[in-house]
C-alpha cells in the first residue's frame, strides 16, 4: 500500500515537473531555426480518431481543397504562380507568428490548409511541438494549450490579408462591434455556445451565406431602371479575394413573359497585378452601388440578376453565359 502511494506521489511530482518543463519550453522564445511543430504531428489524419466531427468538417471544407481544387489549380497555373503556394499549403501560422505571413511547406500539400496549419504550436527546444486550442485539456492526447489568438481575426490575416480581406474588415462596423471572421465563417455548431465551432469554414462557395451578404434591388427612376446592390452582411468587400472572385449584374427584357438572353451590366472586381485597365469596383461593407440601365429595351418588363463567379474569367468574354459559368445570387423583376 505504502509502495503504491509512493509510486503515485512520485508520478505526481514527475508530472508536475514535466508540466512545468513543458510550459517553460512553450513560452521560451522560438529560435530562428525552429521547425519543431511539424515534427510532432505529421498529418491532419492524426487528429481524426479523437476529433472525428472536426476532421469531417475540415475534410469537407475548402481549406482542405486548397491545394487540389481545380479552380485554384487553373488560376494559379498549377501553382506556377508560386506566390500562391505559401497560403495554399502553409506551414503553421504560429511558426512565423500572428500577423506575419506564413511560409510554404513541401510535404502534405494535398492536405491544403490543414489542422496543423492553425493548431500546431511550436515548442522551443522540443521535438514534440504543442497544440493550440481554445481551452486547455491536460489529459487529452494532444494536450492543447489555451490560445486565445486562434479566434482573433488577425490569425486569419496571415493568408487572407494577402487578398486584403482582414484589412477590409477592419474598417467595418462589424469590426467596431467585435464581430470577427469566425463569427460568420466558423459559427457555433447548432447555433449554440458550448458545442464547439464549425470547421467547415464556409464562405463564397456557400450560396446561402452569399445571399445574406448582399442585396439586389431595381426600380424605375427618371425614365430608366436603376439597379442597386448593397453589401448588407459581408464583413468585408463584396466580393472579397482580389483576382479569384467577381460578381456581375446582368439584365434581360422579358417578352410575352419569356426571358431573352442575359445582357451584362456591371462587374464587381479588383484588378489583378497586370490588369492596369480594370478599375477596382469591389463593394465595401455597408455600401450601396447604384447602376443605371440606359437602354431603350429596358423600358418594358425586365429581369435583373446578380451572379457570383468563383473564378473571374468568362469562357468567352464577348459572350458571357452567366447561368452556365456563374452562380445566381439574386434575381428581381421590374415591371414596365
Amino acid at each position: 500500500m505504502r509502495v503504491v502511494n509512493a509510486a503515485r506521489a512520485t508520478t505526481a511530482v514527475l508530472a508536475v515537473v514535466a508540466s512545468a518543463a513543458l510550459l517553460v519550453s512553450i513560452f521560451r522564445p522560438m529560435p530562428a531555426t525552429s521547425r519543431e511543430s511539424s515534427l510532432a504531428f505529421s498529418s491532419s489524419a492524426q487528429c481524426r480518431s479523437c476529433h472525428p466531427r472536426e476532421y469531417a468538417e475540415w475534410e469537407s471544407s475548402w481549406h482542405a481543397q486548397a491545394w487540389n481544387d481545380a479552380d485554384v489549380r487553373a488560376l494559379s497555373n498549377d501553382f506556377a504562380n508560386t506566390d500562391c503556394i505559401d497560403c495554399h499549403a502553409p506551414l503553421p501560422v504560429f511558426e512565423t507568428g500572428i500577423g506575419k505571413r506564413v511560409l510554404p511547406r513541401s510535404s502534405r500539400r494535398a492536405e491544403g490548409v490543414d489542422c496543423i496549419a492553425c493548431h500546431a504550436l511550436p515548442v522551443a527546444g522540443s521535438s514534440l511541438g504543442g497544440v493550440a486550442g481554445t481551452r486547455p485539456h491536460p489529459t487529452a492526447a494532444c494536450r492543447p494549450v489555451a490560445t486565445p489568438e486562434l479566434s482573433k481575426s488577425e490569425f486569419c490575416g496571415g493568408c487572407h490579408d494577402q487578398h486584403k480581406t482582414v484589412e477590409q474588415w477592419r474598417t467595418t462596423t462589424w469590426a467596431a462591434q467585435g464581430i470577427g471572421c469566425i463569427d460568420c465563417h466558423m459559427p457555433p455548431r447548432g447555433g449554440e455556445a458550448g458545442g464547439g465551432r464549425d470547421h467547415t469554414m464556409h464562405g463564397a462557395h456557400d450560396l446561402d451565406l452569399v445571399k445574406r451578404a448582399v442585396a439586389l434591388r431595381a426600380r424605375r427612376e427618371g425614365g430608366h431602371v436603376v439597379v442597386e446592390v448593397e453589401n448588407v452582411g459581408a464583413g468585408h468587400h463584396f466580393p472579397t479575394d482580389e483576382r479569384s472572385r467577381a460578381a456581375d449584374v446582368f439584365w434581360r427584357p422579358t417578352r410575352d413573359g419569356a426571358p431573352t438572353d442575359w445582357r451584362w451590366l456591371y462587374r464587381f472586381r479588383s484588378p489583378y497585378r497586370h490588369e492596369v485597365d480594370i478599375p477596382d469596383t469591389l463593394l465595401p461593407s455597408h455600401e450601396t452601388r447604384s447602376i443605371p440601365i440606359e437602354d431603350a429595351d429596358a423600358s418594358g418588363a425586365i429581369e435583373v440578376a446578380l451572379f457570383l463567379k468563383l473564378t473571374p474569367y468568362w469562357r468567352d468574354p464577348k459572350d458571357p453565359r452567366p447561368e452556365q459559368e456563374a452562380r445566381l445570387v439574386h434575381r428581381v423583376s421590374v415591371e414596365p
Binding site: 515537473v17 514535466a18 521547425r35 506566390d83 497585378r273
Partner: protein
C-alpha cells in the same frame, strides 16, 4: 511510474536539446548591414524639387525645340540641363500627359533620358510602369536600354513580368540585351513564334537575330540556351556591378521580408533573372537571420537554375538549417548540383523532416543520378506517406524507371494519389522523352490534343475528364511505350 519517468525524460530532453546542439548553420543579419554599408558610400537619389513656373515654361520651350528636329536637340538638352533637377518632374509630366502631342512627349522622354541622372531614370521608369500606352512604354524601354543607368535593370525586368504587348516585350528585351542581360529572350521568342501580327513576328525575328549575332551566337535559340545554362556568362562574365546597382539589388533582397506575397513574387522574378553577379549576394543572404529573406533567397537561386551553380556550396551547407533545408534541396537540384545528390539521398531516408524528404525526393529526379534509384525505391514503398510515394514515383519515372511507379502515377492522375497536377506533368514529360517509340508519339499527340485551348481556364469537370482520358491513353500505351529511353 514508468510513464511518469518517460514524461520527465522527454520534458528534460526538450529543455536541454537546444542548449547542447551546436548551431548547424550560422545566422546573422546580412541584407541590412549590406544595405547600410552601401548607403554610406552611394550618394542618395535626390527627390527633385517641384518645378517653378519659370522652369515649366523653359522646359516647355525646350521640348518644343527638341520636337522640331535633330539639330535642335542638343540646344534643347542644354536648356533643360540649365534648369537643374527641377526639370525632371516637368519633363516627366509632359511624357505622361496624353493630351500633349506625341512628338513632344517623345522629345520630353529623350530629354529626360539625356539627363543622365538616377532621378531622371527613375522618373522615366515611373512613367513606364504606370502608362497604359504601349507605344510610350516601348519608347521609354528603348531609351533606358541606351542610357547609362544599369540600376534600371531591376525595374525593367519587373515590367517584363507583366507586359502583355508584343512591341513592348521586344523593347524591354532589347533594352535588357543592351545591358548584356537576356532575361527578355524568352518573351521575345514567344512573340516571334506565337503572335498573330505577322509584321510584329518579323520584327521580333530581326531583333532576336541581331541580339544573337551581337553576342556571338548563330541563332537566338543558341543564345537562349547559353544564357540559361550559364555558358554565356562563363564565356563573357558581366562586369562587376557599380555600387548603386549593388545597393538596389540588396534592397530588393532585403525586401523579400515584405508582407505582400505579390511583391515577394516580383522580387523572386527579378532577382533570379539578373546577371550572375547576383548569385554570391543571394548565397550570402541564405545566412540572413530573417527567415523570409533566407527562404526566398534560396527560391531565387532555385529559379535562376544552372546560372546559380556558384551557390552550390552555400546551398549544401544550408541543408543543415531546418527551416531552409527543403528550399535548399530544391535549389541544389534546380542548379544541377550533381555533387549534392548523396546529401539529398541521405535526406530522403527515414527520420529527416517531412518537407526535406519531399524536396530531396523531387530533387533527385531532377538531378538524374542512377545511384539514387535505390533510395527512391525505398521512398516509394507502401509504408511511406502518399505524397512521398508520389514524389518518388515521379522521380523514378524521370530516371527512366517505368514499372510499378507508372501504374501508381496513372492512379494519381485520376485523383487517387496526392497531387494529380504533378502526376500529369511527370507523365507528359515521360511521354515526351519516349518520342523515339512511334506508338508513344501517337499517344503524346492524343495527350496534347486534350489540353485546354490557349487562354481558357478549364472547369473542374473538364479537368477531371481530361485527366481520365489521359490516364486511359497511358494505360493503352503501356505495353508499347513502357521503358522509354532514359533522358
Amino acid at each position: 511510474m514508468r510513464s511518469g519517468a518517460a514524461v520527465l525524460a522527454l520534458a528534460l530532453a526538450s529543455c536541454s536539446r537546444s542548449e547542447t546542439a551546436p548551431p548547424p548553420f550560422a545566422l546573422r543579419p546580412v541584407a541590412a548591414p549590406a544595405i547600410a554599408e552601401l548607403e554610406s558610400r552611394v550618394e542618395p537619389v535626390p527627390v527633385p524639387p517641384a518645378p517653378s513656373e519659370t522652369t515649366r515654361a523653359r522646359v516647355r520651350d525646350a521640348v518644343a525645340l527638341a520636337a522640331g528636329g535633330g539639330r535642335f536637340r542638343s540646344a534643347a538638352a542644354s536648356d533643360v540641363a540649365a534648369c537643374g533637377a527641377e526639370a525632371i518632374p516637368a519633363l516627366a509630366a509632359t511624357v505622361g500627359d496624353d493630351t500633349t502631342p506625341r512628338p513632344h512627349r517623345l522629345a520630353a522622354a529623350e530629354l529626360l533620358a539625356a539627363q543622365e541622372s538616377p532621378a531622371a531614370a527613375s522618373a522615366l521608369l515611373d512613367v513606364l510602369e504606370a502608362s497604359r500606352e504601349a507605344w510610350l512604354r516601348a519608347e521609354i524601354a528603348a531609351l533606358l536600354g541606351r542610357s547609362s543607368h544599369p540600376e534600371s535593370v531591376l525595374r525593367l525586368i519587373r515590367r517584363l513580368s507583366y507586359e502583355q504587348d508584343g512591341d513592348v516585350v521586344l523593347a524591354l528585351a532589347g533594352a535588357l540585351a543592351h545591358m548584356s542581360n537576356f532575361a527578355g529572350l524568352k518573351g521575345a521568342l514567344v512573340v516571334r513564334d506565337t503572335w498573330t501580327d505577322e509584321a510584329l513576328r518579323d520584327r521580333a525575328s530581326q531583333a532576336l537575330n541581331g541580339w544573337a549575332t551581337d553576342a556571338g551566337y548563330d541563332d537566338p535559340e543558341s543564345l537562349r540556351d547559353a544564357w540559361l545554362s550559364g555558358a554565356f556568362e562563363s564565356a563573357k562574365p558581366a562586369p562587376d556591378p557599380p555600387d548603386r546597382l549593388r545597393l538596389e539589388a540588396w534592397r530588393w533582397i532585403g525586401g523579400l521580408r515584405e508582407w505582400d506575397l505579390r511583391g515577394v513574387d516580383e522580387r523572386r522574378f527579378v532577382l533570379s533573372r539578373l546577371n550572375e553577379w547576383i548569385v554570391p549576394m543571394l548565397a550570402s543572404a541564405l545566412h540572413d537571420s530573417d527567415p523570409y529573406v533566407r527562404v526566398h533567397a534560396a527560391q531565387c537561386l532555385e529559379r535562376a537554375g544552372a546560372r546559380a551553380r556558384a551557390a552550390a556550396g552555400e546551398l549544401r551547407a544550408s541543408l543543415g538549417e531546418p527551416r531552409l533545408a527543403p528550399e535548399a534541396a530544391a535549389a541544389l537540384a534546380a542548379i544541377g548540383a550533381k555533387d549534392a545528390a548523396p546529401d539529398l539521398e541521405a535526406a530522403v531516408e527515414r527520420g529527416a523532416d517531412g518537407d526535406l524528404r519531399i524536396a530531396s525526393t523531387r530533387g533527385l529526379g531532377l538531378i538524374g543520378r542512377d545511384a539514387s534509384i535505390a533510395v527512391l525505391d525505398r521512398a516509394f514503398s507502401e509504408s511511406e506517406p502518399l505524397d512521398l510515394r508520389q514524389a518518388a514515383a515521379e522521380s523514378l519515372l524521370a530516371l527512366g524507371r517505368a514499372d510499378r511507379n507508372l501504374g501508381f502515377l496513372v492512379d494519381c492522375l485520376e485523383g487517387r494519389g496526392s497531387d494529380p497536377g504533378t502526376a500529369e506533368a511527370a507523365l507528359e514529360r515521360w511521354l515526351e522523352r519516349a518520342l523515339s517509340v512511334q506508338a508513344s508519339k501517337a499517344a503524346l499527340e492524343r495527350w496534347r490534343s486534350l489540353a485546354a485551348p490557349t487562354g481558357t481556364i478549364p472547369t473542374a469537370d473538364e479537368v477531371s475528364r481530361r485527366r481520365s482520358a489521359r490516364a486511359a491513353i497511358v494505360r493503352e500505351s503501356l505495353s508499347v511505350v513502357a521503358g522509354p529511353a532514359k533522358r
